[in-house]
């Protein structure tokens, strides 16, 4: 018994040290965001001498006009939230009708969705830009450099994985529930929105977490559709703008990195249980 306890304590200490090692990069950002440039060059590893520097750096970043922090934060939030709601609802709707309609068309469409999962974005991106240009020429509505263009693209790119996940989950929901609802007088769409959607909650959380992390942190798709240095910028794009502009001004770069990472980390700390549960259950299914 005693021998086991000692083993456990050694293991715990070891894990704790490992955790500190894992946290080293985070500590580096936080320490160095609170220094000015000369101090960073002299000794990047030491503790900061004056914590007020972090505040000065943050103020300076908010003042720079090539990284409009609040604006790009707002755009990031709008794009992420709207695309998540849209991807979730639309994919669940599509998956539900695909599961419940057993024809060769539905199987074919599901196969098309599956094939979309293995198409890497890099293959699609240049023709996509060309297509968006054509769409503007034809309809007169600009898709490049606009929020709705990005959101529509995210719905398309998020659909395959989400439909696949919802498909597997909906298959396990018994048909009897829906039949009972129909007998009680529900229309088809009411069956989905009142019966099926509430049941989908756990897998919906998984979908939100996976897609949310991807969309919030995505760089390539906004870069292609929005472009660098235009009016509509997401957070990763603004950080890239700042780095491109003030190369090697590390105190500002690290502060901006910290400011870009903090919203997600705060969200994670609040919803930790749901996020971890959502991620693992989605992967195992």
């Amino acid at each position: 018994m005693k021998k086991q306890n000692i083993k456990l304590i050694i293991g715990e200490v070891f894990t704790f040290i490992l955790m500190i090692v894992f946290f080293f990069p985070f500590m580096m950002i936080i320490f160095n965001a609170a220094k000015d440039d000369t101090e960073i060059i002299r000794n990047p590893l030491s503790l900061p001498t004056n914590l007020l520097n972090m505040y000065h750096n943050a103020i300076e970043i908010l003042g720079r006009d090539n990284i409009d922090y609040f604006q790009s934060f707002g755009y990031s939030t709008i794009i992420t939230v709207v695309s998540l709601i849209a991807i979730g609802t639309f994919s669940a709707m599509a998956a539900w009708v695909l599961v419940r309609t057993k024809t060769k068309y539905s199987v074919f469409i599901f196969m098309l969705f599956l094939s979309g999962m293995v198409i890497p974005f890099q293959v699609v991106m240049l023709p996509l830009v060309r297509l968006l240009q054509t769409m503007k020429d034809v309809t007169g509505i600009p898709f490049k450099g606009t929020v709705h263009g990005v959101i529509l693209a995210y719905i398309g790119f998020g659909a395959p994985l989400s439909v696949f996940m919802f498909y597997g989950f909906i298959k396990s929901i018994p048909m009897d529930i829906e039949e009972a609802a129909i007998i009680d007088g529900c229309s088809k769409s009411q069956v989905f929105f009142k019966i099926i959607l509430p049941i989908l909650k756990p897998i919906f959380v998984t979908m939100l977490v996976l897609n949310g992390m991807w969309i919030w942190n995505d760089y390539l798709l906004p870069l292609l559709i929005l472009g660098k240095g235009t009016d509509v910028q997401t957070l990763p794009l603004s950080v890239a703008n700042l780095v491109g502009f003030y190369d090697k001004e590390w105190s500002l770069i690290l502060t901006s990195v910290l400011m870009a990472a903090i919203p997600v980390i705060v969200l994670f700390l609040f919803a930790q249980k749901h996020i971890i549960k959502g991620m693992t259950s989605g992967a195992i299914k």
Partner: protein, 329 residues
Amino acid sequence: MKKIDFKTKLAHILLSIYAIIVLPFILLSKVIDWGINIFVSAINKDRSDKNDGSTETKKEIEPVQIIKFKDDKERSTAGKYLYDVWFGPSYTAQNNRVFVYFLLPSFGSFILFVFIPFINGLWLSLTDWTIIKTDPSFIGLENYKTIFSDYKFVYSFTRTVMYSVLNILAINLVAFGLALLVVQKFKLKNLYRAAFFMPNLIGGLVLGYIWQFIFNKALESLGGIFSPSLITNGNTALLGLIIVISWQYAGYIMMIYIAALQNVPQDLVEASKIDGANAWQRLKTITLPLIAQSFTIAMFLTLTTSFKQFDTVVSLTQGGPATKLPLWL
């Protein structure tokens, strides 16, 4: 940077919200209304038919025939078919309407933004298209010949394969090790899990900047093997990239392994303990076979992320040193 005024911005935002959320639902309600109208009119027609059974009035309201049918029976079957299957109040028609309707938003944007560009890209790869040229002409497999005879592409392709294999091994080893540690009965178990998972929240681009700072400034100031910085040399840059990606991704894969390890029945482990198996034998013969399925998932996930890596590479080394990191563009 050109500033646009608040009104235009607001218009963009409203337009996007409208396009994404409101429009489909308006359409939905329109179609439902339409269905109900047809349904109601059908019932009314039924009623009026029953009320005045005289044949004279029926002839008066008979519509103009566009297609000539042999007899009444044929007309009713052919004409009714579309109505019954798509627009009628029957259960089948309702089913069909809902099928198209529910599928359209996500399938439509999937086709528009993923599938058509993909096919278009395949076609363009067989032509001499450039950004400026408007009417590309077909040149067959010429582009593929050019690119595979290009030293840079072949080099970065082999580098990518090499990096992917090493990366998959590294991530899985680290993740499995962490998972084995974290499933022990430690006091701060949940804290460790959250901490190891945390790097996964930071996006590829930002991550690259953080590590660029660490490699180029923080570690270089230590001297020794870290100076000159790891990411300035081709071979060590590969190692640096593997460290970065493992640091980011191991937490996620660890979660998958934890979920699998918790499903291993404890009585089997205890039975083998009584039979005298040591820790390594228990791991090899009991645990590993039981969590084999999660290995497949983890391999698949790590494989796709390794090959698709772009943001981190850009921000870490700008694709340098000299096309030695996976960057095909």
